[in-house]
């Protein structure tokens, strides 16, 4: 990565639009990325350019992000990485632009819809309880991996037909992938993921199951069956989408809940508020940033973006935008209006959002039935990761034992 802030900005960028930010290593972001982005939103221009990481734009306001993410004429998804990866590996349907994109998206959406998620709910509940069983007697755990990751990731691995004994191995791959690494390593990890998926496809060809890869083998786009290369490409996306994002969203939510005893008591007494808790948490504690590459020159809010420029839409800042949500830093499950784009907006709105929301709701319900009161120990240290997929890598929790 280029870490040299003194690099001169391109000529089409105005001096007053330059704001120095390393999205991976900025100290404030690593202390608390949501507070960090909220502060940047208030002190930097709505659209600014940083010379770090190869040079790129950052957008911090909801409406500007929404207009970019809904504008496939000027903004392409062909390159999604900052700094530019120049990778030949394609993720379906995430790297495609409309109109080519829709058919591939539909083929996947057909299998990750509300009916499917509803049918999964009993399994979500029992899986949550199995994992709580593992930690409850100890009265403490590091939530991030033991629960925050283990719950959604094991559900996802079952759904994909991945053997659970590879949990630690796969988690290590995604953790490294979303951290600050060299481009060579980035591509190497992509190739490792793709080879894992390729092996799985070969297995399913020999012995089909009821997992998602087997279903995609039966799927077609505009009447043409998907090829193995296409299924591999979906698998690559699913691996990255399924093995980290919800994990982080759930851990962020529990970090907040651990620090708010009154909210714990209220949700435990009346679980019907839990969906609002989940939405409010998604609004305040987003995970993913969305990158676009400019495919046609455009002027937006006084910024001239040139073909080939990279643009990072800081989705976690969108929900914290005071122009969209009143008193945005207040966590309030009773807000009459709440706006966020934690799952993005536009053509690439997260397909897994229905599953992610259900996982967060069910886990919170089951946890509070058994551990209605918990906190972060006074010596507990939170370890954050910034970048394009943000995470809380350590969240120590404790509670009184003797629970159910």
């Amino acid at each position: 990565m280029a870490l040299d802030a003194s690099t001169e900005h391109p000529k089409h960028v105005k001096a007053e639009q330059v704001f120095d930010l390393d999205i991976f290593l900025d100290e404030d972001l690593l202390k608390d990325p949501h507070k960090g982005y909220r502060a940047i939103q208030q002190k930097a221009p709505d659209i600014f350019y940083t010379c770090r990481n190869g040079g790129h734009w950052v957008v911090t306001r909801f409406d500007v992000m929404a207009s970019i993410l809904r504008d496939a004429e000027h903004f392409s998804s062909k390159e999604l990485t900052i700094p530019k990866s120049n990778s030949d590996n394609v993720m379906l349907p995430l790297n495609l632009d409309p109109p080519e994109h829709a058919g591939y998206r539909a083929a996947l959406m057909k299998h990750v819809n509300r009916k499917f998620v509803d049918s999964l709910e009993p399994k979500l509940r029992s899986r949550a309880n199995e994992l709580i069983d593992e930690v409850i007697a100890a009265g403490q755990c590091d939530f991030s991996e033991r629960l925050g990751a283990a719950f959604p990731v094991s559900v996802f691995m079952d759904f994909m037909g991945m053997p659970r004994e590879r949990f630690a191995e796969f988690r290590e791959i995604v953790r490294e992938y979303f951290g600050p690494i060299t481009n060579a390593r980035y591509i190497e990890l992509q190739n490792i993921i793709i080879s894992v998926i390729r092996e799985m496809i070969a297995d399913r060809r020999a012995q089909p199951g009821d997992d998602l890869l087997s279903k995609l083998m039966e799927e077609s786009v505009r009447g043409r069956p998907l090829t193995d290369a296409e299924i591999e490409s979906y698998g690559f996306l699913l691996f990255l989408g399924g093995l980290d994002t919800v994990a982080n969203a759930l851990t962020f939510a529990f970090r907040h809940l651990a620090e708010d005893g009154a909210l714990q008591a209220r949700l435990a007494a009346d679980p019907s508020h839990i969906p609002a808790f989940v939405e409010e948490s998604l609004r305040c504690f987003g995970v993913v940033h969305q990158t676009r590459i400019v495919k046609k020159d455009i002027e937006i809010g006084g910024a001239y973006m040139r073909e080939g420029d990279m643009v990072s839409c800081a989705l976690p800042a969108a929900g914290l935008d005071d122009r969209k949500n009143e008193d945005p830093e207040r966590f309030d499950i009773d807000r009459p209006r709440r706006e966020h784009i934690a799952f993005s907006t536009g053509a690439h709105t997260c397909i897994g959002n229905v599953l992610a929301r259900a996982e967060m709701r069910v886990f919170t319900e089951e946890w509070l039935k058994r551990i209605p009161s918990f906190c972060i120990p006074s010596n507990g240290k939170l370890v954050w990761r910034a970048g394009q997929v943000m995470s809380l890598q350590s969240l120590p929790l404790q509670w009184a034992t003797g629970g159910k």
Partner: protein
Amino acid sequence: MRVNVTLRSGEQRTVEARAGQSLKAALMEGGAEEINALTSCGGCCSCGTCHVYIDERDVARMPAMSSQEDDLLYVRDDRRTNSRLACSVPLSESMDGMRVTIAPEW
């Protein structure tokens, strides 16, 4: 111009609309907010949630469907020949008085 809408509850309403708006935008402005799902893509023909049935008597005066809309409707197992995604139906004066039913939540 006006659009007549049947909500999921069966309640019928008439909403004011403007030519050039999408059918989805008109329904939302007219208070039929159930057309805008929590999981909506924001009206970009990418999520399939703003599914409506056009009254058979009005189908002929609807604008043509793009391949993108057709692709997306593929995910709906409740698709019928008169199915449309409301975000992808631009309104024009010639559609004044059209009748539309919001499809079940999905």
